[in-house]
């Protein structure tokens, strides 16, 4: 707690440096989409605390207020959220990217839509705002196959990624949902992306037995945090093994060991979200410091040497 100012320069750069989708990162830690990244000043602050890059909140075509609170349920070992994709609409987001970009570090624009054209328009705007890359949030409800997500339809995923790759200059990152039967099929559909981001939240629900109803105003939400870490590891491992693609791992990372586990499963970089609730912003500095120490002790000279070493 408190009005903490932060951490001085980190001296692990040489050993922690990595690269993802052609973007150089001074360390493998990025802020995950949707956590403290709606306001440009918040992103700036996270970057000051040691994140090498930030991903913005997912932005759509038009302004959305999102769901009425409760939008989060804190659990013992994680968090369920249903923010409801609140966002100012792409027109209103230029300013925030500008504020965050004043850091000089990569700001990646997350976008959501329900058709390839919509994704393209959003991506072009993000590019024009100076985003270092776009991250496609493929987890919003899918109109064609209702109930499921855009990201569970391989044909649509292929169409979106293909169109964006043909029209954008900045890299395209495809963020996949874990709520699918066959993630490898989706990953292959997204093959043209410069890198894959795994995983988004796992669908979940919490009921208050005294109130006799779901807590979230939307009833359903997405589970994040330590509870899903080993689910994320499995997805990264499987997709890395089956596709060999560059991956950004995300889901339940709060210590250097979690980060190392994701890297050994095949991640070239990782994102941190929910740990900001449990550990505070210091999590970036701590994970960087401990990871560098671990790497030195274990004889790794760089992140690259660790990527996928556990994959057989």
């Amino acid at each position: 707690m408190g009005f903490s100012h932060c951490c001085g320069e980190l001296n692990f750069m040489s050993i922690l440096g990595t690269e993802i989708a052609g973007i150089k990162l001074e360390n493998p830690l990025m802020l995950a989409s949707g956590i403290l990244d709606e306001n440009g000043y918040s992103m700036l602050e996270i970057l000051k605390h040691g994140a090498a890059a930030v991903v913005t909140k997912s932005i759509g075509t038009t302004e959305r207020s999102g769901y009425r609170p409760p939008i989060v349920v804190p659990l013992q070992d994680g968090l369920i959220n249903a923010v409801g994709l609140s966002n100012p609409g792409i027109d209103g987001f230029r300013e925030e990217i500008k504020i965050a970009s004043s850091s000089g570090k990569p700001v990646i624009g997350s976008i959501f839509g329900s058709s390839a054209e919509e994704f393209l328009n959003l991506a072009l705007r993000m590019e024009s705002y100076g985003a270092a890359a776009v991250e496609l949030n493929l987890s919003c409800p899918h109109v064609r196959g209702f109930g499921t997500e855009v990201g569970s339809d391989p044909l649509l995923v292929e169409e979106i990624v293909g169109l964006l790759k043909s029209r954008l200059k900045i890299p395209v990152l495809a963020k996949l949902s874990p709520n699918v039967t066959d993630v490898v099929a989706i990953a292959k559909a997204a093959e043209k992306a410069d890198a894959l981001v795994l995983i988004n939240t796992v669908k979940a629900m919490a009921i208050d037995v005294y109130a006799r109803r779901p807590v979230l105003s939307n009833s359903y939400g997405g589970l994040s945090g330590p509870a899903i870490k080993n689910v994320g590891i499995r997805y990264v491992y499987e997709v890395y093994k089956e596709t060999g693609k560059q991956i950004i791992g995300v889901g339940g990372i709060s210590t250097f060991m979690d980060a190392a586990e994701y890297i050994m499963a095949g991640s070239s970089a990782v994102q941190i979200g929910t740990a900001l609730y449990t550990q505070g912003k210091g999590v970036f500095g701590n994970v960087n410091r401990d990871l560098a120490e671990f790497m030195e002790k274990e004889g790794y000279r760089g992140i690259k040497e660790m990527v996928g070493v556990a994959v057989k």
């Binding site: 918040s42 609170p69 939008i71």
Partner: protein
């Protein structure tokens, strides 16, 4: 989610009530809880009463707060917390400035050495002006229906800032801004409790942020110096959707 049976509901005015409930949890002045009214919503409310039988004082603005003040003794109050950084305890003479329902969170600070400035739009909106030591409260209303006609900052006129060891204030941002501008060079120690939209209460949703600081975890109380360094204070904030708006212009 914690829940506790409501032990008492005290109606303070047409649209304001204090709700008491047992909760054996240490909490300090300036902290708040996220109160869930199933079916109506979840909103941040300051603790107006500490101790074992806690209390909140709620003014109805909309769906959730309205449902909340309709609760009765014996019903369950659902909430989580306590959240937020409390006011720093300072020994000595306190000047306590509250605008509207902002007085609720300041109530636990009032002691026999306090002086209050209690501001509201109109007389019936005044809150807790009767809790200060006799003769030690300045009442200010927008419409002059009670006390001085004017703004909270006008309540400072008759007072010597040097008489106080600390100033605590809570109210609408533009009220705080005018107070800040008035007192920033006085050298008196001051802490303000800010208000923004608060959706999560736990530092992840970014709805309550100001200059990269989350009100819900790093605030809602900030020192004068902290606030004075903020680029967004009194200037701009994000709406529910995350759209940046300029204060005082809408």
């Amino acid at each position: 989610m914690i829940n506790s049976r409501i032990t008492e509901v005290e109606k303070l005015s047409q649209n304001t009530s204090t709700i008491r409930f047992k909760w054996d949890q240490h909490a300090e002045a300036g902290q708040f809880i996220m109160v869930w009214v199933p079916g109506a919503g979840e909103i941040p409310i300051s603790l107006s009463h500490l101790g074992n039988e806690k209390g909140i004082t709620v003014r109805s603005y909309g769906v959730a707060s309205e449902a909340l003040i309709k609760k009765r003794e014996g019903e369950r109050l659902f909430f989580r917390g306590p959240y937020g950084r409390p006011f720093t305890k300072v020994e000595g003479r306190k000047l306590i400035i509250g605008g509207g329902s902002g007085m609720a969170g300041l109530l636990p600070l009032i002691d026999e050495k306090s002086h209050g400035i209690v501001a509201a739009r109109t007389k019936s909106d005044l809150l807790f002006h009767d809790r200060f030591p006799r003769g030690h409260v300045t009442v200010v209303t927008d419409d002059g229906s009670a006390g001085i006609k004017g703004l909270a900052v006008d309540g400072l006129k008759g007072l010597r800032l040097e008489d106080f060891d600390v100033i605590y204030a809570c109210g609408p941002e533009m009220m705080l801004k005018s107070i800040l501008d008035r007192i920033r060079d006085s050298g008196v120690r001051a802490e303000f409790s800010l208000e923004r939209i608060m959706k999560c209460g736990i530092g992840i949703c970014d709805s309550c942020s100001i200059d990269g600081h989350q009100l819900c975890t790093e605030g809602p109380t900030f020192s004068l110096e902290e606030i004075a360094s903020m680029r967004e204070f009194g200037v701009t904030r994000l709406t529910e959707s995350g759209r940046r708006i300029w204060l005082g212009k809408h």
